[in-house]
Symmetry: C2
C-alpha cells in the first residue's frame, strides 16, 4: 500500500535518486536502467507522493480555475474545455467558486493559492490591481477569460463589435426602437469594467450610426439569469413607447425575456424581436437568434495561455469575434410587413 521510492529502488537494484530521475525522464540515466526502474515501478504500482515532490520541487502541477458561478452553462462549458487542455498537459485542476463579494474578498485577501497551484485561470471576473499583485506574490501565473489585464494573457470576445453587429441586424430589419438588456454590473465585479458593459457600448454605437438617440428607459440591467431577463423585459413593457426589439446580453436573460413576452400575449417575432448572446445550447430549442462566440474554444485558449505563462511565454491578449446566428426570434417589425396580421413565414414559436 505504501510503496515509496525506496521499494522501487531496491527492486530495481539502484539508488533512490536514480529511480527519481528515471521515472521523471530526467536525463542522466541510461536507457536500460530507466527501463528496469520503470518496470519495477509498474510492478509495484508505484506513484510518487505529490506532496513530497511538491515540497522538493516547489511546483504543484496544479492550476486553479476561478469562476463567479458554477451552475451556468457558459462556465460548465469553459471549465470543461480548459480542464481537458490542462489535464493533457499533466495538470490537476482546483475549482473555486466566488459567488459573493465576501467570498471574492476572502479569496484574494489571503494567500489561498500559495503552494496549492502554479497558476490560475480567472473567468468572467475582472481582477483589480491589488488582486493581481496578490496572485503574483503567491507565485501564480495568471490567464484571464472574459477580462483583460496589463501584461496578462487573456481571451475574450470582441464585445463592442458583437453588440454593434447584433443591434445593426435589428436595425437592418427595420426596427426603430431597439432596447438593450444587460447584465447588472455588481454581479460579476465589484471593480467595474466588466465586459458585458462593452456590449452596451456596441449597442450605443450602432444607434449612433443609425442616427438614433439612446433613451435611458430602453437600457435595462438585471442579474444574469432567466429571472433577471424576465424582470428587465417587464420593465421594458411599461415604457411610454414600447420598443419592438431587444438585444439581450446573455441568452439566459433572453430566455427570461421570451417568457415574459409570451405571458404578456406578445408573439415573437411577430410582435417583438429578441436577439441573445452566447449561443446557449438551448437556443435551438426555443429558436433564439443569438451571437455565437465559441465558448469552448475560449476555455481551451485560456488554458493554453496559462500553460504558456507558466512556461515563461509572452502573454497575448486575444479578442475573438462573435457571429450572428439567425433563428426564429427575430423578424422585421410588424409595421413593415405587407400583411401585418399574418406571422412571418417562420414557425410561430412561443
Amino acid at each position: 500500500m505504501v510503496i515509496s521510492v525506496e521499494s522501487v529502488a531496491e527492486r530495481a537494484g539502484v539508488s533512490v535518486s536514480t529511480v527519481s530521475r528515471a521515472l521523471r525522464s530526467v536525463p542522466g540515466v541510461s536507457s536500460k536502467t530507466r527501463k528496469r526502474v520503470q518496470e519495477a515501478a509498474e510492478e509495484l504500482g508505484y506513484s510518487a507522493s505529490p506532496a513530497a515532490s511538491r515540497l522538493a520541487t516547489g511546483r504543484t502541477m496544479t492550476v486553479a480555475i476561478v469562476v463567479p458561478v458554477l451552475a451556468k452553462w457558459f462556465f460548465g462549458k469553459t471549465i470543461g474545455a480548459a480542464t481537458q487542455e490542462l489535464r493533457d498537459a499533466g495538470y490537476d485542476v482546483l475549482l473555486y467558486e466566488l459567488a459573493t463579494p465576501e467570498q471574492r474578498e476572502r479569496f484574494f485577501g489571503s494567500p489561498r493559492l500559495h503552494g496549492r497551484s502554479d497558476g490560475v485561470i480567472i473567468m468572467a471576473l475582472q481582477p483589480g490591481k491589488k488582486e493581481l499583485e496578490s496572485l503574483a506574490s503567491q507565485g501564480q501565473a495568471v490567464a484571464l477569460l472574459g477580462a483583460e489585464g496589463p501584461g496578462i494573457g487573456s481571451v475574450s470576445v470582441d464585445n463592442v463589435g458583437a453588440g454593434r453587429d447584433a443591434v445593426r441586424h435589428l436595425l437592418n430589419l427595420g426596427h426603430e426602437r431597439v432596447a438593450f438588456i444587460g447584465i447588472r454590473d455588481e454581479e460579476n465585479s465589484n471593480l467595474g469594467g466588466v465586459p458585458p458593459r462593452q456590449r452596451l457600448i456596441g449597442y450605443r454605437e450602432a444607434l449612433v450610426e443609425a442616427g438614433l438617440a439612446r433613451e435611458d428607459i430602453l437600457e435595462q440591467f438585471d442579474e444574469n439569469s432567466v429571472a433577471g431577463g424576465a424582470a428587465a423585459m417587464s420593465r421594458l413593457l411599461v415604457a411610454a413607447r414600447a420598443p419592438t426589439a431587444a438585444f439581450v446580453a446573455s441568452d439566459e436573460m433572453a430566455f427570461g425575456a421570451l417568457m415574459v413576452l409570451r405571458r404578456a400575449g406578445l408573439e415573437v417575432p411577430r410582435d417583438f424581436s429578441v436577439l441573445g448572446f452566447d449561443n446557449h445550447e438551448l437556443c435551438e430549442v426555443v429558436g433564439l437568434t443569438t451571437m455565437d462566440h465559441d465558448v469552448a474554444g475560449q476555455g481551451q485558449e485560456a488554458a493554453r495561455f496559462l500553460l504558456d505563462a507558466m512556461n515563461g511565454g509572452q502573454p497575448k491578449a486575444l479578442s475573438r469575434p462573435a457571429r450572428l446566428v439567425v433563428r426564429e426570434s427575430t423578424a422585421p417589425p410588424r409595421s413593415l410587413r405587407k400583411n401585418s396580421t399574418a406571422p412571418p413565414d417562420l414557425p410561430a414559436t412561443f
Copy 2:
C-alpha cells in the same frame, strides 16, 4: 515572499513547534502565546505550505469530485452545492471530468488520487467493485451521488418511484399510449446499472398498474442531450400507432423532444404531452412539466456524506423523493377534450 514557520517563530519569540501548534488550534499552547503567534503570522502574512503539511500529516485537506460531463446544468448545480459545503469545511476541491470510457479507465486504472485528495465524490457514475477497491487502496473516502455502493454513503433520487409517479400522472390525464425516452446506458456507465434505467422500471410499473402492455417501440433511448431527445422523439413519430404522451428521463432530452414536436407541426400539449425530469432551470421558460428533485440539495448532501466518511462516520444511503411540477406541456389527450379543436386553457407554447 517566502515566509516560513521559522520567521513567525522568531517574530513571536517561540519555537517552530509552538507556532505550528498555535496556528492549528492544537491544544497545549497557552492562549497568550497562541495569540502572540497568530498576530505574528498575521503581520507576516504567513500561510503554511500545504505541501509540507501534507507530507507531514498525510492529509491533503482536498477532495476530488468526479463527473461524467461538466457542461451540463445538473452537474454545475451539484458541483456548486458540494463545493460550497466542502469549502466551508476547509477542503479544496479537485475536479475530474471522465467524459470517455478511456478517461474513466485511465482514471481508475492508476492511483491518480493517491496523495492528492482525502476523499472523492463520484457523481452519476456507478463505480464497479474493482474501481471502489482502487479508490480504497488509494486511501480515499468515497461518497456517491446518483449511484449506490455497498457500505458507501450515497444520495440519489427514488428513480423508480419518480418514474412511476410521472407516468401515473400522464395516465391519469387519460393518455393510453405513453412513451418513455431514456438515457442510453453506455453514456454514463460501462458497467451497467446506472440509475436512469430505474426510471424505465418505474415507467413499466405504472403501465402494469394501469393494465397496459409495454411495447418496445415506445421505449426509446439516446444520449442525454437535446439532440438525443430530439432523435428519440423522431423515432417515436414513426410508430405504427403514435403515442400521445411521453415521459422523458431528462429535461434536456425533453427540450429536444419538444423541438421535434414543434417542427413536426404538433402542438404541445394539445397534440402531445411531454413530461421531463430534473426541473431544469429552463423548464419554466418553455413550460415543461417535470419531476423536481432538489438537485442542489443532493450535491450538498453528498458533500456531507463524504465529510462524514472522512471522519469515520457511518455511511448512509439516502434516497430522496421527486415531485411533480406541473407546467404547460401536459394535458389530457385530444380525444378526451370536449372541443377537440381548441387548445386547452393553457397558453399554446411551442
